[in-house]
C-alpha cells in the first residue's frame, strides 16, 4: 500500500543537491512512499532571514506550514536539516511564545495550528524501516566502513529538537548497521563543517571540514555518510581544495544516507545520482558491484 | 437562583446607600486581623520595632496558624460588626506546621463562595503572606486593606442566625 507523506523539499534539494533529492525520491519510490509536496512551497529563509530579520525568519516557515495545513498534511518530511530545524523551531515558538501566533497571522494572513509533525532526514528511514528491510541485501555493503556524519544542525539546539543523544547520536549508525555496513566509532559526528559559509567564508569551511575528513580517515572510514546537503557540498566539493591546502590525500566519498540505502537495495548508482559527486564514489559503488 | 439574584441587587443598593451615608462623617472601619503566630504576628512586631507607622484600624488576634481558622470564625467577626478581615500567615512552603497555611488557602475558595452568598464584597476579606522579616510588607498590607474597606464603606449589618 502506498504511503502518502507530506514533503517540504527546500531550495537546496531542488538544485545544488540534486543527487540528494534523486536518491531520496528513488529510494522512497522503491518502498512505495509517495511524497506529497506542499503546493507553492517557498524558501524558509535559511540563515539569511533567520540571522538578519528574526520576524521574517519565523514568518517564512510559518507560511509554509500554514500552506501544508491548508492542504490537509499532518506530517512533513523536510530532508534539509536547516529547513527541518526552522519548521520545528516555528512550531516550538508558536507553542511557547504567547504573542507569536497573532504576530505571524498578521504577517502572513494565514491561520496555522502548530501540530504538524516534522520528520528529519534520519528519522524517515527509521520510520519506514519495516518497508526498507525486505528490499535490502545486507551482503552488498558487508565490507564497507563508514563514518556517520550527523552535522551540527540535526541535533542543535537539543532543547527544541530533542532528537537522539545530542552529543553522541546513534540513530544513523543503527540504520547503517542494519544495512549491513560497518559504522566506525569516530569523534566528529556533530562537529560543524562550516555550514552556510560554503561561499562566503571559504577559509572556515576548509579548516573545519578538513578536521572532519581527517578524523573519519584516522578511524578507518572508507566513506562519510551525510544527511545534509550543506555538509555534503562542503566535504565533497571542497575536498580537492582541502587536499591541496593541507597537503593531504583523502579521496573520501561523501555519500548521502539514501544513496547508501539505494545501494543496499541494489539500485543502479546512476539512478541515485552517485555520478554527480566531485569526489569519485567508485570506492563505494565498485565495492558493491564486486559481488 | 433568581430569588438569590434579586436579593443580591437589593443588598447592593442598600449597601450603596449605607456607604454613602457613612462616608460623610469620616468612616473609620473596624478591621480584625488574624495573624499566624510564627510569621505575620512576628512581622507585625517587626513593623513595631522599626517604628513604621500604619493605619490604626486593625485589631490583631493571634492564632497558631491560619489553618486554625474556619469560615465560621470570619462570619462571626462580621456579625460582631467588623467591616473587614485580614488573614495573614506564612509564605507557601514556609508554614511552621508543614502545610497548615496550604490547607487554609484551599478553604478560602469555599469561604469566598460563602461571602458571595451572604452578599458581602470579596474585598472585605483579604489574605496575605507576611513573613517574620517583612515588617514593611505588613504595613503595606494593613494600609491597603484599610483603604479598600474605606472605599467599600461599612459592612451591611449581618446576622448569622
Amino acid at each position: 500500500m502506498s504511503y502518502k507523506l507530506g514533503y517540504y523539499p527546500g531550495c537546496a534539494l531542488e538544485a545544488s543537491a540534486r543527487d540528494y533529492s534523486l536518491s531520496l525520491e528513488r529510494v522512497l519510490k522503491e518502498i512505495d512512499v509517495e511524497l506529497v509536496q506542499i503546493k507553492n512551497w517557498h524558501c524558509c529563509g535559511a540563515s539569511a532571514a533567520h540571522s538578519t530579520n528574526h520576524k521574517l525568519g519565523m514568518a517564512l516557515p510559518y507560511n509554509n506550514l500554514a500552506l501544508a495545513q491548508q492542504q490537509g498534511l499532518k506530517e512533513l518530511f523536510a530532508p534539509c536539516p536547516f529547513c527541518s530545524r526552522m519548521l520545528i523551531t516555528t512550531n516550538y515558538e508558536l507553542k511557547n511564545k504567547a504573542s507569536l501566533p497573532a504576530e505571524m497571522k498578521s504577517a502572513t494572513e494565514l491561520d496555522y495550528q502548530p501540530d504538524i509533525n516534522i520528520i528529519n532526514s534520519v528519522e524517515i528511514f527509521k520510520r519506514f524501516w519495516d518497508r526498507i528491510q525486505p528490499k535490502i541485501n545486507k551482503d552488498r555493503l558487508k565490507n564497507l566502513k563508514v563514518a556517520c556524519y550527523y552535522g551540527c544542525l540535526l541535533v542543535h539546539p537539543p532543547k527544541i529538537l530533542n532528537y537522539d543523544d545530542p552529543e553522541q547520536p546513534v540513530f544513523m549508525d543503527e540504520i547503517v548497521k542494519n544495512l549491513g555496513a560497518q559504522p566506525v566509532d569516530w569523534e566528529f559526528k556533530i562537529e560543524c563543517c562550516g555550514g552556510g559559509f560554503t561561499v562566503s567564508n571559504e577559509e572556515a569551511v576548509l579548516e573545519l571540514s578538513n578536521k572532519i575528513l581527517e578524523d573519519a580517515k584516522e578511524n578507518g572510514a572508507q566513506a562519510i555518510i551525510a544527511v545534509c546537503q550543506m555538509c555534503q557540498i562542503n566535504l565533497d566539493m571542497r575536498q580537492k581544495e582541502i587536499e591541496n591546502k593541507y597537503n593531504v590525500n583523502y579521496q573520501m566519498p561523501i555519500i548521502y544516507l539514501p544513496q547508501l540505502i539505494g545501494l543496499a537495495m541494489g539500485i543502479d548508482p546512476k539512478e541515485l545520482g552517485l555520478n554527480l559527486h566531485f569526489v569519485s564514489t567508485e570506492k563505494v559503488t565498485l565495492l558493491e558491484s564486486e559481488k | 437562583m433568581k430569588q438569590n439574584a434579586e436579593r443580591k441587587t437589593q443588598d447592593a443598593e442598600r449597601n450603596a446607600q449605607d456607604a454613602g451615608r457613612r462616608t460623610q462623617d469620616a468612616f473609620e472601619p473596624k478591621i480584625v486581623a488574624f495573624l499566624c503566630n510564627w510569621c505575620s504576628y512576628a512581622g507585625a512586631d517587626l513593623a513595631g520595632t522599626s517604628r513604621k507607622q500604619y493605619a490604626p484600624n486593625i485589631r490583631i488576634i493571634k492564632v497558631p496558624c491560619t489553618g486554625r481558622l474556619d469560615p465560621i470564625v470570619l462570619i462571626k467577626s462580621f456579625e460582631m460588626g467588623a467591616d473587614g478581615i485580614l488573614v495573614s500567615g506564612c509564605h507557601p512552603g514556609d508554614c511552621h506546621y508543614r502545610s497548615g497555611n496550604y490547607l487554609a488557602r484551599r478553604r478560602w475558595m469555599i469561604f469566598n463562595e460563602m461571602l458571595q452568598f451572604i452578599g458581602l464584597e470579596q474585598d472585605r476579606v483579604q489574605f496575605s503572606w507576611v513573613s517574620a522579616a517583612e515588617g514593611g510588607k505588613f504595613v503595606d498590607v494593613v494600609n491597603k486593606i484599610t483603604e479598600d474597606i474605606k472605599k467599600l464603606g461599612p459592612a451591611k449589618e449581618y446576622n448569622a442566625s
Partner: protein, 183 residues
Amino acid sequence: MAESINLKNAPSFINEVQKSSGIKLRNCYQCGKCSASCPMVFQMDYPPSTLIRHAQLGLKEEVLTSKTIWSCVSCITCTARCPKEIDIAALMDVFREMSVKEKLATKEQAKIQKFHKSFLEVIRAHGRLYEMSLIIRYKLRTLALMQDVNKTPKMLFAGKLNLFPPKIENIEAIRKIFERCSE
C-alpha cells in the same frame, strides 16, 4: 583602548539586548564552555564568552564592531552546551542585526551580510533559491568574481545549478510577507 572602562552604560545595554531578544545576559558566569565549544574561534577577535563579558560591561561598540559576530557560523554548539541556558547563537544574530542597523559593520564584515542580502533578494523575487542569480548578485557585490569559477561548469553539468529560475504561483503573497516583516 580607553584607560578604564566606563560602566555607566552597562545596565542600559544589557536591558536593550534582553528586551529585543529575551536573552538574560546577566546569567552568564563566564565559564567559557561556549568558547571552548565554538569551532570558529580561530577567526574571531574575541571568543564568544569574552564578547558576552564585553556586553555585560556595556561595551557596545566593541561588541558591535567585533569580528566575532561575523565569524559565527550558527552551528549552535555553544547554546547546546551552555550550563546557564544562554542562547549564545541567537545573541550573535541579535548583535549582527544591531550592528547593521547602527552601521557599525565594516565592509569586510558585511561580506556575509551581503550574501544574506543577496539571498533574501532572490527569495523575494523568485520565492525559492535560484543559485545562478544568487551567485551573480553576490559576486557583483563582493567582486570575488573568480571564486569557484572552476566549479561552475561541473555543477551546471551535474544539474546542480539551475539555469532557469524556479516558478511558483503565490509569489505576490511572499513579497507581502517580506514587506510586513520589514516594517
